[in-house]
């Protein structure tokens, strides 16, 4: 049975949290837990989801959950899994699952994540990517894209914003031979749900990198989160792919991309981009896609 937006459970496991209206990250946690069910044990490091989900006495998880040190999502997951297994008390269908931000994954938590994959611990790791350190006030992370203004890469006379591009986590975890990895976006919920369901049923380390737009940090109306999550895929600045059994699959190849300029201009973080900057971004996108297409066999187009 396959879960999709129509058939997914009405049971809420993440609610009553303090995330901003239109928060993409909160949708990742909520939707993933609907698929994983109430026996999921969740670990969340410092970041928006723990800051908004764990405020005593307003505790937003209906399943077992805990906060971890910022760098320690994956290692806490490994410990939880080992503890349950060593005592023989892990329920059938219990997923030990982490939800960490882009900073908590691509920057400070990368070492622990790599360690868990190396040991092939039986844990599912989500990176919800809002492309900056949002909880501390929109500072740059290594997933902040070129041209985005953040509070530590402010748009100014010398630069339109961040001058570096996104770290390729998907390729990095695949290079370690992880049993399952995927990219997804909350703008494509059925694709996301399908991947969560698949990851749930695979043993060993699984990793899903989900694009999770943030109205506050990106500068768009909170009603547009899903549209942005879809738009970023349609214009080719994000992609939906899987890595399984050593093979890459591109789940969606738009063929012709929607307008990058329209997508970027809908967010105030890109306010300082010139037309020339946009041409640079498009050229870089094309390079990324060339690499992706070489790496992946296409599932659809």
């Amino acid at each position: 049975m396959s879960v999709n937006a129509r058939t997914m459970s009405d049971d809420e496991l993440f609610y009553g949290h303090k995330a901003c209206p239109g928060c993409g990250g909160a949708l990742v946690v909520r939707q993933a837990l609907k698929v994983l069910g109430k026996d999921a044990v969740a670990a969340l490091p410092a970041g928006c989801m723990s800051a908004t989900g764990f405020n005593f006495p307003q505790l937003a998880f209906a399943n077992n959950a805990m906060i971890t040190p910022f760098a320690a999502t994956a290692s806490v997951l490994s410990g939880i899994e080992a503890g349950l297994r060593a005592q023989g008390i892990k329920p059938d269908g219990c997923t030990v699952v982490g939800f960490a931000g882009d900073g908590g994954t691509a920057d400070i938590g990368l070492q622990a994540l790599s360690g868990a994959i190396d040991r092939n611990d039986d844990v599912l790791y989500f990176c919800y990517d809002n492309e900056a350190y949002m909880n501390t006030g929109i500072q740059r992370s290594s997933e902040t894209p070129f041209g985005a203004s953040t509070t530590t890469t402010p748009a100014g006379p010398s630069h339109p914003g961040c001058v570096t591009g996104k770290k390729d986590l998907f390729a990095m975890v695949a290079a370690q031979g992880i049993p399952y990895a995927a990219t997804a976006s909350i703008g494509y919920p059925n694709d996301l749900l399908k991947k969560v369901e698949k990851a749930r049923d695979i043993r060993g380390t699984r990793f899903i990198h989900v694009m999770a737009p943030c109205p506050v940090g990106w500068g768009f109306p909170s009603s547009d989160t899903i549209a942005l999550g879809k738009g970023i895929v349609d214009c080719g600045l994000w992609y939906l792919a899987e890595y399984e059994d050593g093979r890459f699959t591109l789940n969606r190849d738009p063929g012709r991309f929607a307008s990058v300029a329209d997508h970027l201009r809908s967010q105030s973080r890109y306010r300082a981009l010139t037309d020339a900057d946009i041409v640079t971004i498009e050229a870089h996108r094309d390079q990324v896609w060339q690499r992706l297409r070489q790496r992946c066999s296409c599932e659809s187009s």
Partner: protein, 390 residues
Amino acid sequence: MRRFISGNDAFAEGVRLARPHVISAYPITPQTTVVEALSSMVEDGRLQAEYLHVESEHSALSAAMGASATGARTFTATSSQGLLYMAECLTYVAGGRFPVVMMNANRALALPWNIYGDQRDSLALLDHGWIQLYVQDNQEALDAALMAFAIAEDSRVSLPFMVNLDGFALTHTYEPVDVPDQAAADEFLPPYVTANKFDFDHPVSLGYSAGPEFNRYYAHAHHRDMVAAESVIDEVEERFAARFGRRYPGLVEAYRCDDAETVLVTLGSIAGLVRDVVDELRAEGRPVGLLRIRYMRPFPAAAIAEALRGASAVGVLEKDISYGAEGTVFTNVLSALARRGSVPPVRDFIGGLGGDDITREQIRDAFAELERAAAGEQYVDPVMFLGGAA
């Protein structure tokens, strides 16, 4: 069974007897042989535990926390830079009230880089909410491993426990050690039972955040239970003595302090040599004593004040220095004396840094210095580096 083994091996035997579910550790000299010994025990089946080959100390302790949150009995070990690398996780584990047991092999801190023993590592982290015990010999190390789980996991305590062994002086030195049998250990140490864990029937959030309006409740409960650990330590030592016939003296060990005019206070393995010197000086008719602090947290302020009641001068001999101030043990001992309301002349002898020898002669000199202080000799700076200054 009596065996001739190192401090690390003795500790590993104690951990084996405690039957932890999860061990998560990262190697660093001089801790390495304890995790090597545990790895072989897991490999050959003498110990049934999950051994997590983590990629750093930060992960070692955070994985231990995750395991403890499932109700598992959990062990880790480290030293020096590794302990500092864990520092962030120390407060998570303590604040989350997870009774993880750790062995720390006391070692100097870089720079200058140095692998030898002193106590700057653990003393720098005194305020991170862990119970801290300093042992004196290998038998005490093994016994402490067993007792640490009993004390940490007691529901009145629920706090992580750091057992400190002097690097090399204990970790790599061989002594005859009595290794209890498993049945006796099982009788002594009950399984870990706690409400502070994940529950699949009634799911919980663990280690959440608590704002200004609630934070002090957690801090106060942490402090209260750390203080309460004092009586639990006594109870557990009593049970241990009844079961194994070895009696430990509680949070401090006073040796010939009753009628002593000068007392040297210290921690760890150097207490053995100080004890010898006390006997020598006593034979010469000089009324000296030794106070060995076993637990730095909970801090036995009342027991220290009581043991030093009759002393006209008190010295602290310690392997650490809080730069620009004084030794951390000295600060704590002065606080115990000040709470009592009277502070005799005091001296702080800093020695053994980076594995430097503390000699019999230096200890004799320290007592001579205390005798001059007791006689009223003035001093400018109570902090003295043994062996002379730079």
